[in-house]
């Protein structure tokens, strides 16, 4: 059943650019994302996002129809801007394009200018167009372009602020919270692009239905031009950092995602260097605890094969982390075609003497085929891996997006030393649940106790 294939995508491991754009915008204060396209784009994205975060998600649509496709979407976009301005009156309307409006060649910037001119007398929201054609690259690039667009439109040079900008990339609200905690432990003032920690993990309250009162503010985005530096946790989402460096001389650092010891060390190192800061005892203690957790767990994880899929920097970070734990990454897959990803994995492979199958631009069909070939004891990735894990009779450790078949996706927490401790404990316990019996002994295939007993009694009867 599992053959090589060349043309089709079967069970995708990526989404389209507008999805990445919306993911980034959900961390911005008082902002309305508006997708210029067909109704389905907004609705299906909201469906994915809402079942993952278990929060209401607001994404408006210009609701393009056949007529507007023929005559252009100017009327719909103007009308949408007017309606959003009148009803929600957000601080920012972020207009993302779609495959439909890109293909018919909509001049979004022109239409937005026209809307502004027609409403000169009014106090309008800031309107930011973001070009996110769905047929180019993936959601990862959509996220990247959105952060860049925010910074391009808003960042203004004024007085130095001693802060560090962090482009988080698409990580869980709990992980954003952990990054903020680390920075606070380091006494490092910061601007998070973008801060989903409160917006997407909100207490039960009516106010969760309004536009976000938390998240990164316009003033913060303006101030990014005055920071000491920008760290993009994801190397694939560093365009805004590079822009700030070129435009305003704000130093830029790309990656790595602080997963495990070495990557978190690098991240802490980068922050300390930019901010000329000392590492406090609390962080050293957390680091020591992670190492302690890894040592406690080592015998259960040593040389277990792990297959990992998801966004490129998550996969490369997790590849390094699991190597540190003594595991063997056997297949690593990202849906995005990326040379940087391949390079990263090759560097890890050389350093750690492992040789995983690398799939860059692969789908879950390809991944499944490779797992059948080289084997895996555990799969790390999102809910779409569930059927593959079931078929191979291995556990799926759920991290990434989307996770819709378990609770608590917004609180999955793997970054930094503390997130690392959480990951090591939980992953190892999953191994214990799956591969060890109630007394803690390894259950090994045919020689399981049950079969031995069955054989014994059967023999006696004869």
């Amino acid at each position: 059943m599992h053959q090589n294939k060349k043309f089709s995508v079967i069970n995708p491991s990526k989404m389209c650019q507008p999805m990445g754009a919306v993911q980034a915008l959900l961390g911005v204060n008082d902002t309305m994302p508006l997708i210029h396209g067909s109704q389905g784009c907004g609705t299906y994205m909201r469906f994915q996002l809402t079942r993952h975060f278990r929060e209401p998600i607001e994404v408006a649509s210009t609701s393009m129809s056949e007529k507007t496709v023929i005559y252009g979407g100017e009327f719909n976009l103007m009308k949408a801007l007017k309606n959003v301005t009148e009803k929600q009156s957000p601080s920012i309307i972020a207009v993302t394009s779609s495959c439909l409006t890109e293909t018919i060649g909509e001049d979004m910037e022109g239409i937005i200018e026209k809307f502004k001119e027609a409403n000169l007398d009014q106090d309008l929201p800031i309107i930011i167009p973001i070009s996110t054609p769905s047929y180019v690259e993936s959601h990862v690039e959509g996220y990247n372009r959105t952060i860049k667009a925010l910074v391009e439109h808003l960042a203004v040079k004024s007085v130095g602020n001693e802060k560090i900008n962090i482009i988080t990339g698409n990580i869980s609200p709990a992980d954003v919270r952990e990054v903020k905690n680390i920075l606070s432990d380091l006494n490092c003032e910061n601007i998070i692009l973008t801060d989903t920690s409160k917006n997407l993990d909100a207490p039960l309250s009516e106010s969760a239905l309004d536009l976000y009162k938390d998240g990164t503010t316009i003033e913060e985005i303006e101030d990014t031009a005055n920071s000491l530096g920008t760290i993009a946790l994801s190397k694939h989402m560093d365009s805004a950092a590079i822009y700030l460096e070129k435009q305003f001389g704000v130093k830029s650092i790309s990656g790595p995602l602080p997963l495990g010891i070495e990557n978190t060390d690098k991240f802490i190192g980068s922050v300390c260097k930019l901010g000329e800061l000392e590492v406090p005892e609390t962080i050293k203690r957390d680091r020591g605890r992670l190492i302690d957790a890894m040592v406690d767990a080592h015998s259960y994880n040593y040389h277990r094969k792990v297959a990992i899929f998801g966004d490129p920097d998550f996969v490369s970070g997790m590849t390094r982390f699991t190597c540190e734990m003594g595991m063997i990454p056997s297949v690593v897959c990202t849906g995005t075609k990326s040379k940087r990803f391949i390079e990263d994995i090759q560097i890890i492979s050389d350093e750690k003497k492992v040789s995983p199958v690398i799939l860059a631009g692969g789908d879950l069909y390809d991944m499944h085929r490779e797992i059948k070939e080289v084997g895996a004891d555990i799969l790390v990735g999102n809910s779409y891996g569930a059927s593959m894990a079931k078929e191979e009779d291995i556990p799926l450790f759920r991290v990434g997006f989307p996770i819709f078949d378990r609770l608590g996706a917004q609180r999955i927490f793997t970054l930094g030393y503390k997130g690392g401790i959480n990951f090591v404990d939980q992953l190892t316990n999953t191994m214990l649940d799956y591969y060890y019996d109630e007394a803690g002994y390894e259950v090994s295939g045919d020689e399981s106790e049950e079969t031995i007993f069955e054989g014994y009694f059967a023999g006696e009867e004869v």
Binding site: V9, C16, Q17, S38, E66, K87, Y135, V136
Partner: protein
């Protein structure tokens, strides 16, 4: 008169109260640009009705997003394999947009056929494949000739209409034009039927099928829950179509009546009374004394089986209010079932209703019920805040709007956990409604620290 809720002037007429004035909301209009519409696109509509055909590959001809967000979303169950659950896409790229995607589509179809040997490959057109003018019909024809596999074009460009019902029709047309009538059944009986508009969500079909078969009826095919394409190909030989989801599937039933002379009756297996009526309606159609007798026996034993099983739930649910905001069909088909639980339907609305749907709702609900059309997320939140029902029945996107307001919610769409159709289904239905309405967690939502 006080408006139902505050909203845009043009939207006010989309809401009304039964018993006041004409009692029909304005409907079937394009959503206002800039609102957070709960509606989807024509492609989504077509995919949702065809996807339950389990032995087929559903190939989306477009950029990755159209497939990536929709490949697993229908909770339709299968008794025979999971080919239909694969998320297949041609993943159109910039190059394809410029030079056309037909060649890529052709190669993809050939490749998928080689990998899976499916019963059929359904090829869905999307916004972009429509604009660049790919002739998917021609590609399907050519690849069908080469592979010998049914390759069926579904002309479902997303932007075609504001109403996804158009997509349901397009999905139906694909079956009418390319599948139904292309194969003869091995045997026929005087009591051959199709179950139309039953998608086997959470296994609903399996609560209905045994009852009908016990009546002595031969089910040729289901459109489309738990079906194989070759079964649907024989559907033209049925003597009767029974239609469960009338919103999506009256269209197909009407067309089959015109083309093949197959009459249809509307059925509803949600709730005991409706299940009983539906079984009797089917038996009355065939006017076979033996079948009528069997049917009464089935009804007696079905009712006996669930007798008193829902008493405990009913005690807690009595007098509680419920609001329905659904795709279409459930806005009327669930009303009686809730009334049987002693509950009071205070609002009913749909996202994509057309005039005949609202007439149906109006017939079913009692005076004073709010009827709403295409409520966007703000309007829905306002309705819930103002009228505070004890339960909202809706889909995944509405779930957390309701829960954040502390209003219990039950999913009746694709994320449903248990089957609700038929006699046994009614028990699960009562149990699940009770689990939502009566949970003590909702009391906590009304209490703050220190009061």
């Amino acid at each position: 008169m006080e408006p139902i809720i505050e909203t845009f002037e043009s939207r006010k007429k989309h809401m009304c109260i039964k018993g006041e004035g004409i009692s029909l909301p304005v409907c079937d209009k394009a959503s206002l640009p800039g609102t957070v519409t709960q509606r989807t696109c024509v492609y989504g509509g077509a995919r949702i009705v065809l996807m339950p055909i389990t032995d087929s590959i559903h190939l989306v001809h477009g950029p990755i997003g159209c497939a990536a967000c929709t490949w697993d979303i229908r909770g339709s169950k299968s008794s025979r394999g999971d080919l239909y659950k694969k998320g297949c896409s041609t993943d159109l790229k910039e190059k394809d947009i410029v030079f056309g995607g037909e060649k890529k589509l052709f190669e993809t179809v050939i490749e998928l056929n080689k990998i899976y040997h499916p019963g059929a490959i359904f090829v869905y057109a999307t916004c972009v494949s429509g604009i660049i003018g790919d002739d998917i019909k021609a590609v399907c024809k050519k690849s069908e000739e080469i592979t010998g596999c049914r390759v069926i074009p579904v002309q479902s460009e997303g932007y075609q209409d504001h109403n996804k019902t158009k997509g349901h029709w397009i999905g139906g047309d694909a079956l009418l034009d390319y599948v139904i009538g292309t194969r003869e059944p091995e045997k026929t009986t005087p009591f051959d039927i199709n179950i139309v508009g039953e998608f086997n969500v959470a296994g609903d079909l399996w609560g209905i099928k045994p009852l009908i078969e016990e009546m002595g009826i031969n089910i040729i095919s289901t459109l489309t829950g738990d079906s194989h394409v070759d079964e649907i190909a024989q559907a033209h030989r049925a003597k009767l179509n029974i239609v469960q989801c009338q919103k999506s599937s009256n269209y197909v039933a009407k067309k089959m009546e015109k083309k093949y002379g197959i009459p249809f009756i509307k059925v509803n297996f949600f709730g005991l009374e409706q299940t009983v009526n539906s079984l009797r309606d089917i038996a009355n159609f065939f006017k076979d004394p033996d079948m009528m007798e069997k049917t009464e026996k089935i009804i007696r034993s079905g009712l006996k089986e669930v007798e008193h099983k829902t008493d405990e739930y009913k005690k807690r649910l009595d007098g509680k209010t419920v609001a329905l905001y659904v795709g279409g069909n459930k806005a009327w088909s669930l009303v009686r079932a809730f009334e049987e639980l002693g509950m009071d339907v205070m609002m009913s609305g749909t996202k994509n209703g057309i005039k005949e749907d609202y007439e149906r709702i109006k017939e079913t609900v009692k005076d004073g019920t709010i009827i709403v059309d295409d409520a966007n997320s703000t309007e829905l939140a306002r309705l819930l805040k103002k009228y505070r029902p004890n339960l909202l029945i809706s889909g995944a996107k509405e779930k957390y709007i309701s829960l954040k307001l502390g209003i219990p919610f039950c999913d009746f769409n694709h994320d449903r956990i248990s089957a609700f159709a038929g006699f046994k289904g009614f028990e699960s239905f009562a149990k699940e409604v009770d689990a939502s309405v009566s949970s003590p967690v909702f009391e906590l939502t009304r209490k703050g620290l220190g009061n």
